[in-house]
């Protein structure tokens, strides 16, 4: 859909650099990235509110660069919902139908169905200001869907809701998108949202897509250190690649230890690398250490009880921000600060990435 698209606002800095992305029909794609990474700009280009400085945006194979937003027929849910405050909920919903010259009875029917779909049937005569945040969110969703677009864009739609409501709405949105078979492009900076809702996630940074993958692949097999850092919690150790052979390499850490790792985007010995290990893939219980696991000495600095998990901060290879997570199982040992332990992990969970 995006073909070598570039965007610049001031003619000096490219906000979006060479974006190539195609979205399949019925797919739920999330654009994830820190603020200023270009994800919202991409969404606005897709909606037609920003023009691409270079490149084509294709919809069903047809370039839509020069089609004004109101003729694109793309539904959109805005960050602050953008419900028209001077219209009732019903009028808000019937607005897109009115501008399409749809007859009154059909309009009413569609509005009613859309409201029922988001379980807001009895609120048609209320003003948006009389609704709670979650209710406004549902109405905004219903309004973007009422004219039956095939593509719906959502710009951080859940940002203003509290945690519980957000989780509930995440579920609602995915269910609706699935039931209606619509294509959704969803922008967020919340990785949990991205991981739980999407078929595919595009991680944005610095105007480029760093990685485009299914949520599980993205989490477990990050392709570069930005993605590894950005998605989930991550421990990094820096060092120099000593040798590479197929799917295994050895890395000499800055503190002197030599560890075995899985080479992801390092290519030659002598290269600097960041080795990344997920906190929950680190084990200190010797009985559970798997065959072939690599071990390292560590000193316990802090033990944090979080209910379902224990978080322990360790000093490993000269760094004192190494975190491990342990499930609060009946036999789990609670570590004491000052204790020295042996930690270990499987070499394939330890990914040598770009520095």
């Amino acid at each position: 859909m995006f073909d070598h698209v570039q965007k610049s606002y001031d003619g000096e800095v490219l906000v979006v650099k060479d974006l190539n992305l195609s979205i399949a029909r019925g797919e739920f794609l999330t654009m994830l990235g820190p603020s200023g990474s270009g994800k919202t700009t991409c969404l606005m280009m897709l909606a037609g509110f920003e023009t691409a400085t270079h490149g084509d945006i294709l919809l069903d194979g047809k370039p839509i660069n020069n089609i004004p937003p109101h003729k694109r027929g793309i539904g959109m849910v805005f960050q602050n919902y953008a419900l028209f405050p001077h219209m009732s909920v019903g009028e808000n919903l019937s607005f897109p139908l009115e501008v399409r010259n749809i007859g009154k009875s059909e309009r009413e029917e569609k509005v009613r169905r859309a409201l029922d779909m988001v379980q807001m049937g009895e609120f048609a005569n209320r003003r948006p200001a009389q609704l709670s945040g979650g209710q406004q969110q549902r109405i905004a969703l219903a309004r973007a869907l009422v004219f039956e677009p095939e593509l719906v864009l959502m710009d951080e739609p859940l940002g203003a809701l509290d945690k519980q409501l957000r989780e509930h709405m995440q579920f609602e949105i995915t269910r609706l998108a699935h039931d209606l078979g619509i294509t959704v492009v969803y922008v967020t900076h919340d990785q949990t949202e991205a991981l739980t809702m999407s078929d595919n996630v595009a991680v944005f940074e610095d105007g480029r897509i760093q990685q485009l993958d299914a949520p599980d692949k993205l989490y477990e097999e990050p392709m570069n250190s930005f993605v590894a850092q950005f998605i989930g919690e991550n421990n990094t150790l820096s060092g120099v690649v000593q040798q590479i052979s197929g799917d295994s390499c050895t890395v000499k850490l800055d503190s002197g230890e030599v560890i075995e790792a899985n080479p992801v985007n390092v290519s030659a010995p002598g290269e600097r690398t960041l080795v990344s290990i997920r906190p929950e893939r680190v084990e200190y219980n010797k009985a559970r250490l798997q065959e072939g696991a690599f071990t390292l000495r560590a000193e316990v600095l802090e033990f944090i009880y979080m209910g379902d998990v224990f978080r322990t901060r360790l000093r490993v290879a000269g760094r004192d921000d190494f975190i491990i997570k342990t499930r609060n199982a009946p036999d789990a040992e609670r570590l004491e600060p000052g204790q020295t332990i042996e930690i270990g992990w499987l070499p394939r969970d330890c990914r040598a990435l770009d520095a």
Binding site: K71, M76, F78, L83, F84, V99, R100
Partner: protein, 425 residues
């Protein structure tokens, strides 16, 4: 149950730690706050009372006050009570005698000319009549009938009209000024219209309202796009342009108005340019000033910022996402503007329109300078009565009517648009 006896507060009023009722101590605490607040606004309150409320009250009082007749001619007023204007005859000797006695005192106190001036508002010629009789009254003889002596001085004293006016205006309060202000007059025969040639105020009121409405509409027409542009520009550019909008505020009103005189007069810049462009013939130069056109042009310019500022501050609060949302829902840019943006800018239009209209309706300097004959407002007439003709009663009545008019329009606006729908930002 035992702790209930300890506190003992479950049924009675809630008590504070030292045993006073909570309500009382709350009231005491609040009273001090209120007193302090009152002290803070006291200087302004006193200032407003003395310089604003009091003069308005005084003005309203003056518009109906009419004690001068009964105070200057107390005996005559009583003697005239039995006289019937409808009889068509002059009153009898006792009335003339009473008038003579009143006049002698009035002349001594030099009050008779003021009375003459007052009565002259109602019947032309009264002023000179009183001045003349004032000069002759000293030489009148007490032993001869006063009626003949008065008639010898001036035959007009035999005219029932003269006596009718004195009788009609003998009460201490009168609606006469207000009737005057709407081109009516109170005669001994009752309320009647003024002759065609003297009717001016209704026409002036109408013109004031019409031109003010036109000026309001013009400022809206010119101001709306500017406010829209300002609210959509970057802060830095918007501030620059805002200074340009405010620039007229920092220039003297007289300078601005005089500048319009230079621009708009028949040999002025605008006409010269139009002739040079060949759009009008040299002998058909447009009359752009000293008429209603001049007033509208100059006042639209002067009042424009009062429309732009409220519009701007309201538009600033309309997030661009609304129009975007409308477009994404399939509305053309025009429909998005008409159905989504415009309705949300109405509070600004309301605030701006009220401001401009109320300022325009009482405007005085500009119409006086560029209005000529057909572009002056009712306020110019009020100023004339206050400072030139010194008919303060009529001036006050006109002012009171203007006040009522503005309040009525305000109420009308409240009914149609709703006053809580006015926003200044």
């Amino acid at each position: 149950m035992s702790d209930q006896t300890d506190t003992g507060t479950d049924t009675g009023p809630v008590l504070t730690a030292d045993g006073r009722s909570l309500k009382q101590s709350l009231e005491r605490a609040l009273r001090r706050e209120k007193l302090r607040a009152l002290m803070l606004i006291a200087p302004l309150l006193i200032y407003v009372l003395v310089t604003f409320i009091a003069p308005i009250a005084d003005m309203l009082f003056r518009s109906v006050e009419n004690r001068i007749v009964s105070e200057t001619l107390p005996r005559t007023v009583i003697a005239l009570q039995d006289w019937d204007y409808e009889s068509g005859e002059m009153p009898g000797e006792p009335v003339f005698a009473a008038l003579a006695a009143d006049l002698r005192e009035a002349v001594k106190a030099k009050k008779h000319t003021r009375l003459g001036t007052r009565l002259n508002y109602e019947l032309t010629g009264m002023s000179s009549l009183f001045r003349q009789i004032g000069r002759k009254i000293k030489r009148m003889k007490d032993d001869k009938p006063f009626r003949e002596q008065f008639l010898k001085v001036n035959k007009k004293w035999g005219d029932p009209e003269v006596w009718g006016v004195i009788q009609t205006y003998s009460s201490p309060f009168t609606a006469g000024y207000f009737l005057n202000a709407v081109d009516l007059r109170l005669t001994p025969r009752g309320v009647e219209q003024r002759p065609e040639s003297e009717r001016v105020y209704i026409m002036l009121f109408k013109r004031t309202i019409l031109l003010s409405a036109l000026i309001t509409f013009m400022t809206f027409l010119l101001g709306y796009p500017i406010a829209y542009l300002l609210s959509n520009l970057k802060m830095k550019t918007a501030n620059m342009l805002m200074i340009l909008v405010l620039l007229p505020f920092w220039t003297s009103l007289l300078v601005r108005t005089s500048a319009w005189k230079v621009l708009l007069q028949q040999q002025g810049v605008v006409n010269d340019v139009l002739v040079w462009l060949g759009l009008i013939a040299d002998d058909h130069r447009l009359e752009l000033i000293n008429n209603a056109t001049g007033t509208v042009i100059a006042m639209t310019h002067i009042l424009l910022p009062f429309m732009i500022l409220p519009l701007y501050s309201v538009m600033k609060t309309i997030p661009p996402s609304y129009v975007r949302a409308a477009k994404s829902l399939g509305a053309t840019p025009f429909t998005a503007f008409r159905r989504v943006y415009f309705p949300q800018s109405i509070p600004g239009i309301g605030a701006g329109a009220i401001l401009v209209f109320i300022l325009a309706i009482g405007y005085y300097i500009t119409p006086a300078l560029v209005g000529g004959r057909s572009g002056t407002f009712i306020s110019n007439r009020i100023a004339y009565h206050i400072s030139v003709s010194l008919n303060w009663g009529l001036g006050a009545a006109l002012g009171a009517l203007l006040l009522v008019l503005v309040l009525a329009l305000y109420a009308l606006y409240d009914k149609i648009v709703g006053i809580d729908n006015v926003k200044l930002g």
